[in-house]
Structure formats: C-alpha cells, structure tokens
Symmetry: none
DNA sequence: TCGAATTTGTGCGTATGTATC
DNA sequence: GGATACATACGCACAAATTCG
C-alpha cells in the first residue's frame, strides 16, 4: 500500500462494484472466489475478504458458505400499506391487510410476557415507569421468510383480568388491537405513527435474514382511545425490501 | 470457541451494545481500547476489532484514530408532521406547518426547470414518458442548517400557461401545491406517501451536512385531484435527525 | 518543541470449521 | 468422500493520529 491512495480493499471493492452496477456481473452470478480475487488483483487473502465484506455490507452481494459469493437481486421495494384513509374492509391485524392486498401468505409467531414499563414506554403509554405492561414480540413471515419484527406494549391496567389480556390467545387472539379493545368497550379512534430509519442491529438483521449494517425502517405506532394511549409498538422492517405507504385525505 | 454458540465477535459486540443502550456507557465516553477488550473478554485482537466494527456499522460508536472509540450521541429525532387527520390551520407548504409547530424558522431555496419526464416520473404522474414537466429542486433550511431536500415534478399539461406554472413565483409563490392548484380550479383531495430509507448518496449528505454512509429517509409523495396525479415529489431527510409523523383516524 | 506511549486503521499470512457441490 | 469456498479466528506488523509528559 502506498501514500495518497485508497486502501487496497476499497480499490478491489470499487472495481467489483462497478462490474456489478454496470451489469457485467448480473444478479445471481458468482463473483470470483477469494482465491481468484487474490490472484487477479495481486492482493492478500485478507484484502479479498475485506473487499467482499464491503460489498456484502452494501447489500450488493450475498455470501453462501461453501458455495460462493453471489450478486444479489435488487428487489423493487414492496409496499406496506398503513392507511387510515380507506376504511379497512375486514377485521385484521395492521399487517394482515397489506399482506392479503399483495396476495401473499402471511404468518406470524409471538411471545408475550408481563414486564415493568421503562421510561420511554411509560411515556408513550402515558403511564408511570414501573407500571406493569404486557409486552409481546412478533416475527411476521411472508412466504416463510421473516419480513417484519414487532414489539408491542399494552398497559395491564387496561387489559389485565380481561379475556384480551394476551393478544394472541382467547377467542379474539390475533385479531388486532382495535377489535380486541372493542371487546372490552375501549373504542380505538386514532393512531399515531412515527417513521424513522437507522442501521439495523445485528440481532434484528439476523432475524430478518439481512446483513449487519443494512438499513431498517422503524415505525413507532401508538393507538389511542379518546386521547388515551392503549397500545404502542415498534415495528421493524428491512428498508431494502419494503416501503411504508400512507394514503391521506387533503384538508 | 465452541459449537452451538454465537461467533465470539458478536458476543463481545452484544455485551458492549448492552452497556451502551442501558446507559452504563453513556454518550461521549470512551469504550475499552482494543487491547483492553482483548484482555477483559479473553479474545484475540481480531475479535476485538470485529466487535468494534459491528458497533460502528450500527452507528452506536465512532472511532477516532489515535484517541479511542467513543459512544455517539443519539439526538432525539425531531418530528416532521405529515398528517391529513387534523385540518391544517392555514395555507402552508407541506413542511412549513411542522416547522412553525416546532417554533423553528424555516427558509428554503428552489430552482425550477422544464424537463421531459423519465419513465418513473411519468408513471407516478400517469403521463407519457417524454411529456414535459416542471421540475423544482428545493433545499429547506432550519435555523440556517440544511435539513431537507425535495425534488418535485408537475405536469406542464396541467399548469403550463397558467399563473402557477412556476411553484415559487407569482402571487401564490411558495404557497404549497394545494393552494396553487386551487387557483387554477384543480381541487387536490388526497395524497399518497411512501416512506423508504437507504444509505444517503454522497451528494445528498454533503448537502445535508452529513457523513457518507448515513441513513436518509425518502418520502415519495404524490398529490391527487379526483384520482389524477397533479404533483409528485421525492423528499430526503437525514434519518438520525428526523422522523416522519402521521396521525390517522381509525376506521 | 520534542518525543514516547497509546490507539485506531489497515494489511498480511495462516489455521480451522463447516456448508455446498 | 473429496474438493471447493466461505466464516471465523489468531497473531503479527506498520502507518497515522492523538495524548501527554
């Protein structure tokens, strides 16, 4: 390596990137193995490895152990509909609606536990820190592939000792917040969503089949009944595969 | 290392991450040097390095050569309100409303030019590729600091040879799409927004005062009048400083 | 002002495990 | 089973930046 230059691994990565974006290495093709890169560019094993890592971090390629490193398809991001504009036709969890709209088969798993609200959750639910809440973690799958993580919190002061205390059990299990709250005479009338984005945490991205460093969209959603928060959730989706769509009336 | 476990570098990164998020390593503190990590966790130099790299990719820490690795401050993202729920009190551009709500002084610059619609813009505006459109680029500033980029397209078939052809000139200059369209008897009645995110391009991040590799939120917004698109725009904001907020009625 | 110590950033060579073909 | 290729890990070296006496 010399003075005013780029690091070797960035030079190699840049050359490979160029071949990928200009199409001379189309999707699904294998790029040169680490050993081949080492020969072709006259670099060490580590440099070839680092170069591949850069491309993997950018989401351009995907390493398959024992097989090779392959150029990834860059999917057109699919929409996740989050509209309050059109009335949703039937009862649904917030994300059943768009899955059916896309014609996909959505499944999910969940696990609930009672915990004490931390400062941030307490603020979002307008309760006191330390108050008990029902915390439920979801993994949503689309055609078997994890596509969304969600963590929801509901104040037990509201749902405790009612049939809907556990979101996914009982006759209304999996029916969505609005229907479940309706069953205990809580009328959910509006929802606030804050959409942010950040690099995904390592554990999120392993769960979502992504690569550490990839971008995720985070939706902080809170349902309200007469101004009172009744449920809040963090929804995490990979940004390279999904967009969040809103459809609003004007005025 | 053993069989059913996580890789060592993920275990170390996970432990450090926990200390960061639970506050025992607050912002601006230095985390243990590579040598210290190696000792404390009983791992090699490479593992300590990889662990730091994971945290850097997640944006939790920042390496300063020769000095140390420091926990980054995570500014509380400010909200950009994008609601159609509450009627907006006065005439405003889509982003004047939240700036005034935050009490901030918003200014902007713009530059318009006539261009031919590309394939994607044509599809968003439901016109033919090659049809002429008015393309306007904005830079929005908050207290002098660039905080948002926007590029909008309007079909000239609609606004051409009218007083509102140029969004920022004439008596209604800078008044927002809805008011300007109303002046030529086009009643904008709803808007679709698609929120996505990706690593910012180099030119975007220099304009926004960010660092290459930082995440940006991209909002694709289209205004409709009776089902016909009358304006579409790409809005880019840095994700570490802003969130996009929606407030929707339920049902 | 100088220099030594520390720390990150980058790079090299090698070894082992494991998945795929 | 064997060959190939990626994934993880170890140890080492050096340059550049920073800190501090």
């Amino acid at each position: 390596m010399a003075f005013g230059e780029q690091p070797a691994y960035l030079r190699v990565a840049g050359d490979l990137r160029k071949k990928i974006v200009d199409g001379s290495l189309p999707p699904h093709t294998r790029l040169p193995s680490q050993a081949r890169i080492r020969e072709e560019y006259g670099v060490s094993d580590t440099v070839a490895l680092e170069a591949r890592k850069v491309l993997m971090a950018e989401g351009l390629v995907e390493g398959r152990s024992g097989s090779g490193t392959y150029v990834r398809e860059r999917p057109v991001p699919r929409k996740i509909a989050r509209t309050g504009y059109r009335a949703v036709n039937g009862g649904s969890t917030p994300f059943r609606q768009e899955q059916s709209a896309e014609g996909a088969r959505g499944t999910w798993e969940s696990r609930s536990e009672q915990v004490e609200a931390g400062a941030k959750i307490a603020e979002r639910l307008a309760i006191r820190p330390g108050d008990r809440v029902m915390c439920t973690r979801y993994v949503f799958r689309d055609a078997g592939e994890a596509m969304m993580l969600s963590t929801s919190w509901e104040p037990l002061a509201l749902t405790g000792r009612t049939p809907v205390m556990l979101p996914e059990e009982g006759p209304l299990g999996g029916c969505g917040v609005v229907e479940r709250m309706a069953a205990i005479d809580v009328v959910v009338d509006n929802v606030a969503e804050e959409v942010g984005a950040r690099p995904g945490l390592a554990e999120e991205l392993t769960a979502l089949g992504g690569v550490p460093g990839h971008v995720v969209i985070v939706v902080q959603r809170t349902y309200y009944a007469s101004g009172r928060p009744v449920e809040t959730a963090d929804v995490v989706v990979p940004a390279d595969r999904y967009r969040v769509a809103y459809h609003l009336p004007v005025k």
